[in-house]
Symmetry: C2
Subunit: 217 residues, 2 copies
DNA sequence: GGCGAACCGTACCGTACGGTACAGCACGCG
DNA sequence: CGCGTGCTGTACCGTACGGTACGGTTCGCC
């Protein structure tokens, strides 16, 4: 049983973190099958024996990589000042959207999602699945806080925050995520407009669905 | 060079199709690593030698499985009768949405997407990727036709059909697809409402964004 | 200095799997 | 009947990889 970790604290030693970092690099470069115990040991300049001592087996290494990456993700706290203007909130949502798309399209995120999806099929594996969902939970919490704040300030209107979040997420991400996982290049996914314009379009649509101003027309 | 295939025609013999079918069953049951040449030969009551003769190597078997499955998908033609009512179109979109969600949540679709995603990471592999995208292209064509027809009939309003389709797809699928690929059970993904109600909600939102009636308010 | 813990590098083992070869069987055809 | 064709089943090979063992080195501590 691990004791509860304080935020920012990792359950891995420095050396272990280095090894996991090397593993992530291998994963990004070559996918799951690029992570062999011998290969990782060579890349990280450590011995296979240490690998097995620290992580149990290959499966444990993969799980540790996911846990390690999840532990790195920190949720930037939403600016909590009171009575903010509609423009402030819009800016917050823009920042959120840009962060979200940047994270999801990042090479390590893509590689880890592919890994988790690969694991999901074979075993009864909640191993990868649950850990990756933690990353998603972070995102959701941040967005929910933002949504609630905007509602309290009278700029948004909705009954179910979960539903509103789902819609926001859907409009921002669309099927970009799956397509990137399938191997489409960023240029293919995002040809007619860069990330910022996509966020703008998504937010325009989201405000038309949930904005207080529009709901009153 | 294969000659062009007529729709409904497969480029595989009956015996080969049987083998590929058995492969799909294995894939659904156990993921990619469940597809071993010996295991597939045993499951399909064929010899490994035939496998290699027909498909070249293991990679070829996987590609053939994807191609085979894609060849099975047929796009139900959209009812092409003229002057249809708004209710008719709404019903068409409901049928489309239900089909889409049913297909995406099907076990073979999930298994094949996982396979393609696994392949995508390792190699320069457009092998799986492009073939799966064909399935998506079918969906897109059907939806685009529907969208254009609804616009011509004056029930929808949009400039860019591609953008409208993206929005429709996003509102229908949301992040359900990725979550299923990650291994979440259908019950987890769809707890607060079954598929039909999700389609209704998505269409309500879509019509609020693109419906002609609302745009005129 | 002596000692033990941690760790590196490497050699080693067992096995699973991709790929090949071969023997035998069924069947259609001259 | 005889023969070729296409297939099955099995035996076999080489290798890559997961996992283990062990000797050698560094480093901190008494």
């Amino acid at each position: 049983m691990n004791r509860q970790l304080k935020p920012g604290e990792s359950s891995f030693t420095d050396r272990q973190s280095q090894v996991l970092e090397a593993g992530l690099a291998l994963l990004v470069a070559g996918g799951e099958k690029a992570i062999t115990t011998a290969g990782l040991a060579r890349a990280a300049n450590c011995s296979k024996e240490s690998l097995y001592k620290w992580f149990g087996d290959r499966e444990g290494v993969l799980s540790a990589m996911i846990a390690y990456q999840a532990s790195k993700v920190r949720v930037p706290a939403v600016a909590a000042s009171a009575n903010r203007s509609a423009e402030d909130f819009r800016a917050d949502f823009e920042a959120f959207g840009n962060d979200l798309l940047s994270v999801l399209s990042g090479s390590t995120s893509v590689a880890l999602n592919r890994l988790a999806i690969g694991q999901a099929s074979a075993e009864g594996a909640p191993l990868g699945q649950l850990l990756v969902s933690r990353g998603r939970a972070h995102i959701r919490d941040r967005a929910k806080a933002l949504l609630e704040a905007a509602r309290r300030a009278g700029h948004l209107r909705f009954d179910d925050a979960e539903e509103a979040f789902e819609t926001l997420y859907a409009l921002l991400v669309r099927d970009m995520h799956v397509r990137m996982l399938l191997g489409e290049k960023l240029t293919d996914v995002g040809l007619p407009g860069d990330q910022k314009s996509k966020v703008q379009r998504a937010l325009d649509q989201f405000y038309r669905l949930y904005g207080a101003a529009f709901a009153e027309l």
